[in-house]
Symmetry: C2
Subunit: 204 residues, 2 copies
């Protein structure tokens, strides 16, 4: 009756590991393949431990979704420098790895598909979406002002909606079938499209 030996991890660390394992399983096996047991195997622990850290599996999945949203938005929101550089970086970051990869879009889609089912996930989604779009709107506002073509908040809102749609759409396309595009093609198309949408060259 030998028990497995184990390592006692600090609380925050193990929670993080479990969330990461949850995301791995969802992206590899889908939401229904991400069972407590499978997640535990991935995290290198036994299934019972999940309930020591989370009230339920559903709660763990919800927290995992928060982590996805955060990782998708943080890189894009933290662009720095001149408005022009920031806009360019925003586009490039969202359309190249690690943001643009098949794992990310699988996770995103898995959660999106639950938004109608689970109000908790719906709320998390809405917050993330608005934060992302507002960050883009501010970015566009700065960019247009710097280029000498300042726009009203209402105009910026419309630009943000359009460009957010464009970038999201290209992101999905690229993640799902990257092999249909040449290296750097999506970024190049996105840059040219944003220039056309704003009626301004992005480069100096």
């Amino acid at each position: 009756m030998n028990r497995r030996s184990f390592h006692r991890a600090p609380e925050g660390e193990r929670r993080q590991e479990l969330i990461e394992a949850t995301l791995d399983c969802i992206s590899e096996f889908g939401l229904k393949g991400a069972t407590v047991r499978q997640i535990a195997v991935r995290a290198g622990v036994t299934a019972g431990l999940v309930r020591h850290y989370f009230d339920s599996k559903d709660q763990m999945v919800a927290e995992a979704y928060r982590a996805v949203i955060a990782s998708l938005t943080e890189k894009a929101k933290n662009v720095e420098g001149e408005p022009t550089t920031r806009l360019k970086d925003f586009i490039a970051i969202n359309l190249t790895e690690p943001v643009a990869d098949s794992r990310s879009v699988s996770l995103w889609a898995a959660f999106i598909s639950q938004v109608r089912v689970d109000p908790v996930l719906a709320e998390i989604h809405r917050e993330g979406y608005l934060a992302f779009r507002n960050a883009l709107q501010d970015l566009l506002s700065d960019f247009l002002a710097a280029k000498g073509k300042p726009a009203s908040p209402e105009e910026c809102r419309r630009y943000a909606i359009a460009i957010n749609g464009l970038v999201d759409g290209l992101w999905v396309e690229g993640c799902l079938a990257g092999d249909l595009f040449r290296e750097g093609e999506l970024v190049s198309i996105a840059m040219a499209s944003v220039e056309a949408l704003l009626g301004l060259p992005i480069e100096e």
Copy 2:
């Protein structure tokens, strides 16, 4: 020992009903909530019948995905009339009901999330995506020619990628949080964006 009375349906009809019930369940309860039993209840039959019409649940789900793709693309691909009208209709159709509704995006996302898991679904997705984008590319080619600005296939390809991304992105946004936009706003933004992208007015 009274058995339930039932109706013997023609083969094609019942298959259709089962597929429709599958989609209803996926959109309402998610992929993992769409169990054989739940689907059977929705279709008004008993669970065993599923295996009379399909080799397995997975096969039924795959056929259901084909049906989704078909319904998402058929309306958009069958636009008719002058190139200008067709382009306008293409945009409007994709961004208004019944194509743009929360059920559609839930189904789409549920399947997208499985593309990495299930090669069968991946193939169905790729076919549908390419058919859709190629239809758009032809549409754009006709439109540009009609407007006296004919473009090379390569240019049309880039336009098609960008506009497909834009429309897809706005479609997702609208389906998931339609209440964040005013009536007709997404269509209006899309029209203006496509005009800017192509450098041409769509209206006469």
